[in-house]
Amino acid sequence: MIHIECLLGLSAIMMFAGIYGFLTRRSTLAILLSIELMLNAADINFAVFNRMLFPEGHEGYFFALFTIAIAAAESAIAIAIMINIYRQLSHLGVDKLTKLKF
Protein backbone atom coordinates (compact mmCIF):
# COMPACT_ATOMS: atom_id res chain seq x y z
CA MET A 1 0.00 0.00 0.00
CA ILE A 2 1.52 3.29 -1.11
CA HIS A 3 -0.05 6.02 0.98
CA ILE A 4 0.34 9.74 0.39
CA GLU A 5 2.38 9.99 3.61
CA CYS A 6 5.13 7.80 2.13
CA LEU A 7 5.46 10.01 -0.94
CA LEU A 8 5.40 13.25 1.06
CA GLY A 9 7.95 11.86 3.53
CA LEU A 10 10.23 10.93 0.66
CA SER A 11 10.10 14.45 -0.75
CA ALA A 12 10.66 15.85 2.77
CA ILE A 13 13.86 13.79 3.07
CA MET A 14 15.03 15.15 -0.28
CA MET A 15 14.13 18.71 0.73
CA PHE A 16 16.08 18.62 3.99
CA ALA A 17 19.05 16.89 2.40
CA GLY A 18 19.10 19.89 0.04
CA ILE A 19 18.85 22.32 2.96
CA TYR A 20 21.74 20.61 4.76
CA GLY A 21 23.86 20.81 1.62
CA PHE A 22 22.91 24.45 1.10
CA LEU A 23 24.07 25.30 4.62
CA THR A 24 27.32 23.34 4.65
CA ARG A 25 28.75 23.45 1.14
CA ARG A 26 31.49 25.91 0.29
CA SER A 27 31.55 25.76 -3.51
CA THR A 28 28.81 27.67 -5.36
CA LEU A 29 28.44 24.77 -7.78
CA ALA A 30 27.66 22.36 -4.94
CA ILE A 31 25.18 24.89 -3.50
CA LEU A 32 23.42 24.93 -6.88
CA LEU A 33 23.24 21.12 -6.72
CA SER A 34 21.47 21.41 -3.35
CA ILE A 35 19.04 23.98 -4.79
CA GLU A 36 18.21 21.52 -7.58
CA LEU A 37 17.43 18.91 -4.92
CA MET A 38 15.03 21.29 -3.16
CA LEU A 39 13.30 22.26 -6.42
CA ASN A 40 12.92 18.59 -7.28
CA ALA A 41 11.30 17.89 -3.92
CA ALA A 42 8.80 20.68 -4.55
CA ASP A 43 8.05 19.20 -8.00
CA ILE A 44 7.32 15.81 -6.47
CA ASN A 45 4.95 17.45 -3.99
CA PHE A 46 3.02 19.19 -6.78
CA ALA A 47 2.62 15.94 -8.70
CA VAL A 48 1.74 13.90 -5.60
CA PHE A 49 -0.93 16.32 -4.38
CA ASN A 50 -2.46 16.38 -7.84
CA ARG A 51 -2.40 12.61 -8.28
CA MET A 52 -3.51 11.55 -4.80
CA LEU A 53 -5.93 14.26 -3.69
CA PHE A 54 -7.39 15.60 -6.95
CA PRO A 55 -6.91 12.88 -9.60
CA GLU A 56 -9.39 14.57 -11.95
CA GLY A 57 -7.58 17.93 -11.77
CA HIS A 58 -4.46 18.97 -13.64
CA GLU A 59 -3.10 22.08 -11.89
CA GLY A 60 -0.25 20.43 -10.01
CA TYR A 61 0.80 18.56 -13.13
CA PHE A 62 1.26 21.76 -15.12
CA PHE A 63 2.90 23.53 -12.20
CA ALA A 64 5.49 20.75 -12.08
CA LEU A 65 6.02 21.01 -15.86
CA PHE A 66 6.61 24.77 -15.75
CA THR A 67 8.79 24.47 -12.66
CA ILE A 68 11.06 22.04 -14.51
CA ALA A 69 11.41 24.50 -17.41
CA ILE A 70 12.16 27.42 -15.10
CA ALA A 71 14.66 25.38 -13.06
CA ALA A 72 16.53 24.48 -16.25
CA ALA A 73 16.70 28.16 -17.27
CA GLU A 74 17.83 29.16 -13.77
CA SER A 75 20.65 26.63 -13.60
CA ALA A 76 21.84 27.58 -17.11
CA ILE A 77 22.18 31.25 -16.11
CA ALA A 78 23.75 30.38 -12.75
CA ILE A 79 26.36 28.18 -14.41
CA ALA A 80 27.14 30.95 -16.93
CA ILE A 81 27.70 33.33 -14.00
CA MET A 82 29.93 30.77 -12.25
CA ILE A 83 32.08 30.23 -15.34
CA ASN A 84 32.50 34.00 -15.59
CA ILE A 85 33.43 34.22 -11.89
CA TYR A 86 35.94 31.42 -12.32
CA ARG A 87 37.47 33.15 -15.33
CA GLN A 88 38.00 36.36 -13.38
CA LEU A 89 38.82 35.12 -9.87
CA SER A 90 39.85 31.47 -10.59
CA HIS A 91 37.95 29.97 -7.65
CA LEU A 92 34.32 29.37 -6.73
CA GLY A 93 34.30 29.28 -2.92
CA VAL A 94 31.58 31.41 -1.37
CA ASP A 95 33.87 32.55 1.44
CA LYS A 96 36.38 34.01 -1.05
CA LEU A 97 33.94 35.87 -3.30
CA THR A 98 34.35 39.30 -1.73
CA LYS A 99 34.84 41.49 -4.79
CA LEU A 100 31.39 43.06 -4.50
CA LYS A 101 31.97 43.94 -0.85
CA PHE A 102 33.16 47.43 -0.16
Partner: protein, 170 residues
Protein backbone atom coordinates in the same frame (compact mmCIF):
# COMPACT_ATOMS: atom_id res chain seq x y z
CA UNK B 1 3.07 -7.41 -2.46
CA UNK B 2 2.58 -6.29 -6.02
CA UNK B 3 5.26 -5.36 -8.51
CA UNK B 4 4.64 -1.60 -8.44
CA UNK B 5 4.98 -1.60 -4.64
CA UNK B 6 8.36 -3.31 -4.91
CA UNK B 7 9.28 -0.71 -7.53
CA UNK B 8 8.23 2.06 -5.14
CA UNK B 9 10.48 0.67 -2.41
CA UNK B 10 13.41 0.49 -4.82
CA UNK B 11 12.80 4.06 -5.99
CA UNK B 12 12.47 5.29 -2.41
CA UNK B 13 15.82 3.74 -1.51
CA UNK B 14 17.48 5.24 -4.61
CA UNK B 15 16.06 8.72 -4.01
CA UNK B 16 16.65 8.89 -0.25
CA UNK B 17 20.18 7.45 -0.30
CA UNK B 18 21.08 9.39 -3.46
CA UNK B 19 19.98 12.74 -2.09
CA UNK B 20 21.83 12.16 1.17
CA UNK B 21 24.95 11.06 -0.73
CA UNK B 22 24.69 14.18 -2.92
CA UNK B 23 25.18 16.48 0.05
CA UNK B 24 27.71 14.35 1.94
CA UNK B 25 30.19 13.28 -0.72
CA UNK B 26 33.52 15.09 -0.88
CA UNK B 27 33.91 15.31 -4.65
CA UNK B 28 31.68 17.55 -6.77
CA UNK B 29 31.77 15.17 -9.75
CA UNK B 30 30.42 12.40 -7.56
CA UNK B 31 27.75 14.73 -6.18
CA UNK B 32 26.61 15.40 -9.76
CA UNK B 33 26.47 11.65 -10.46
CA UNK B 34 24.37 11.05 -7.32
CA UNK B 35 22.08 13.93 -8.33
CA UNK B 36 21.58 12.22 -11.70
CA UNK B 37 20.50 9.10 -9.78
CA UNK B 38 18.02 11.15 -7.71
CA UNK B 39 16.56 12.84 -10.79
CA UNK B 40 16.12 9.54 -12.62
CA UNK B 41 14.47 8.09 -9.50
CA UNK B 42 12.08 11.04 -9.46
CA UNK B 43 11.24 10.37 -13.11
CA UNK B 44 10.51 6.78 -12.12
CA UNK B 45 8.21 8.05 -9.38
CA UNK B 46 6.28 10.10 -11.95
CA UNK B 47 5.98 7.03 -14.17
CA UNK B 48 4.71 5.10 -11.14
CA UNK B 49 2.00 7.70 -10.59
CA UNK B 50 0.89 7.37 -14.22
CA UNK B 51 2.30 10.76 -15.27
CA UNK B 52 4.32 9.47 -18.21
CA UNK B 53 4.74 12.82 -19.96
CA UNK B 54 6.01 14.50 -16.79
CA UNK B 55 8.44 11.63 -16.27
CA UNK B 56 9.74 11.96 -19.83
CA UNK B 57 10.17 15.71 -19.44
CA UNK B 58 12.03 15.13 -16.17
CA UNK B 59 14.33 12.61 -17.85
CA UNK B 60 15.02 14.77 -20.90
CA UNK B 61 15.34 18.21 -19.32
CA UNK B 62 16.86 17.40 -15.94
CA UNK B 63 18.73 14.14 -16.39
CA UNK B 64 19.65 14.93 -19.99
CA UNK B 65 20.19 18.69 -20.05
CA UNK B 66 20.92 20.08 -16.62
CA UNK B 67 23.26 17.27 -15.57
CA UNK B 68 25.34 17.64 -18.74
CA UNK B 69 25.52 21.37 -18.01
CA UNK B 70 26.69 20.63 -14.45
CA UNK B 71 29.33 18.16 -15.62
CA UNK B 72 30.65 20.71 -18.12
CA UNK B 73 30.73 23.40 -15.44
CA UNK B 74 32.59 21.13 -13.02
CA UNK B 75 35.15 20.19 -15.64
CA UNK B 76 35.57 23.80 -16.85
CA UNK B 77 36.05 25.23 -13.40
CA UNK B 78 38.05 22.23 -12.15
CA UNK B 79 36.29 22.55 -8.79
CA UNK B 80 37.00 18.92 -8.06
CA UNK B 81 37.66 19.39 -4.37
CA UNK B 82 34.72 20.89 -2.58
CA UNK B 83 36.14 22.24 0.64
CA UNK B 84 33.58 20.65 2.90
CA UNK B 85 36.19 20.07 5.58
CA UNK B 86 36.90 23.78 6.02
CA UNK B 87 33.68 24.08 7.99
CA UNK B 88 33.97 23.95 11.72
CA UNK B 89 32.32 21.03 13.46
CA UNK B 90 29.87 23.39 15.18
CA UNK B 91 28.64 24.63 11.81
CA UNK B 92 28.13 21.11 10.45
CA UNK B 93 26.31 20.01 13.59
CA UNK B 94 24.16 23.14 13.53
CA UNK B 95 23.14 22.53 9.92
CA UNK B 96 22.41 18.88 10.72
CA UNK B 97 20.29 19.86 13.73
CA UNK B 98 18.33 22.40 11.68
CA UNK B 99 17.69 19.84 8.94
CA UNK B 100 16.71 17.05 11.33
CA UNK B 101 14.40 19.30 13.36
CA UNK B 102 12.76 20.51 10.16
CA UNK B 103 12.40 16.96 8.90
CA UNK B 104 10.86 15.93 12.23
CA UNK B 105 8.36 18.80 12.11
CA UNK B 106 7.46 17.96 8.51
CA UNK B 107 7.10 14.27 9.33
CA UNK B 108 4.82 14.84 12.32
CA UNK B 109 2.70 17.33 10.39
CA UNK B 110 2.33 14.93 7.45
CA UNK B 111 1.40 12.04 9.74
CA UNK B 112 -0.98 14.05 11.95
CA UNK B 113 -2.82 15.85 9.17
CA UNK B 114 -4.91 12.84 8.22
CA UNK B 115 -5.11 13.04 4.44
CA UNK B 116 -8.24 11.49 2.99
CA UNK B 117 -6.39 10.24 -0.07
CA UNK B 118 -6.73 6.65 -1.19
CA UNK B 119 -3.64 4.51 -1.61
CA UNK B 120 -1.86 4.64 -4.95
CA UNK B 121 -3.04 1.98 -7.36
CA UNK B 122 -1.05 0.42 -10.19
CA UNK B 123 0.15 2.88 -12.87
CA UNK B 124 -2.72 4.13 -15.00
CA UNK B 125 -1.82 6.11 -18.11
CA UNK B 126 -5.40 7.14 -18.77
CA UNK B 127 -5.37 9.46 -15.76
CA UNK B 128 -3.64 12.20 -17.81
CA UNK B 129 -3.67 11.28 -21.51
CA UNK B 130 -1.48 13.09 -24.03
CA UNK B 131 -4.49 14.62 -25.82
CA UNK B 132 -5.64 16.26 -22.58
CA UNK B 133 -2.14 17.65 -21.95
CA UNK B 134 -1.99 19.12 -25.46
CA UNK B 135 -5.44 20.63 -25.19
CA UNK B 136 -4.73 22.18 -21.78
CA UNK B 137 -1.35 23.47 -22.90
CA UNK B 138 -2.62 25.27 -25.99
CA UNK B 139 -6.04 26.47 -24.86
CA UNK B 140 -6.88 29.99 -23.80
CA UNK B 141 -10.05 28.99 -22.00
CA UNK B 142 -10.82 28.27 -18.37
CA UNK B 143 -8.26 25.47 -17.88
CA UNK B 144 -5.77 26.60 -20.52
CA UNK B 145 -2.08 27.30 -20.06
CA UNK B 146 -1.27 29.13 -23.30
CA UNK B 147 -0.08 32.31 -21.55
CA UNK B 148 2.42 30.60 -19.17
CA UNK B 149 3.51 28.39 -22.08
CA UNK B 150 4.40 31.45 -24.15
CA UNK B 151 5.93 33.18 -21.14
CA UNK B 152 8.21 30.18 -20.61
CA UNK B 153 9.28 30.31 -24.25
CA UNK B 154 10.17 34.00 -23.88
CA UNK B 155 12.00 33.15 -20.62
CA UNK B 156 14.05 30.48 -22.39
CA UNK B 157 14.95 32.94 -25.16
CA UNK B 158 16.02 35.51 -22.55
CA UNK B 159 17.98 32.75 -20.79
CA UNK B 160 19.87 31.84 -24.00
CA UNK B 161 20.74 35.50 -24.67
CA UNK B 162 21.66 36.13 -21.02
CA UNK B 163 23.84 33.03 -20.84
CA UNK B 164 25.72 34.06 -23.98
CA UNK B 165 26.21 37.63 -22.76
CA UNK B 166 27.39 36.59 -19.30
CA UNK B 167 29.70 33.76 -20.31
CA UNK B 168 31.31 35.18 -23.44
CA UNK B 169 34.94 36.26 -23.49
CA UNK B 170 35.49 39.99 -23.32
Amino acid sequence: MESFEIMFIVLTAIIALGSIATVFTKSVVRAVAYLLLVLLGTAGLYFLMGYTFLGSVQTMVYAGGVIVLFVFAVLLTSAKEDKLSENTLIKNIGAAVISLVGLGIFGTLICLHGFTAEALTSPDETIMPMTAIGKHMLSTGHSGYLLPFEAVSVLLLACIVGGLVIARKR
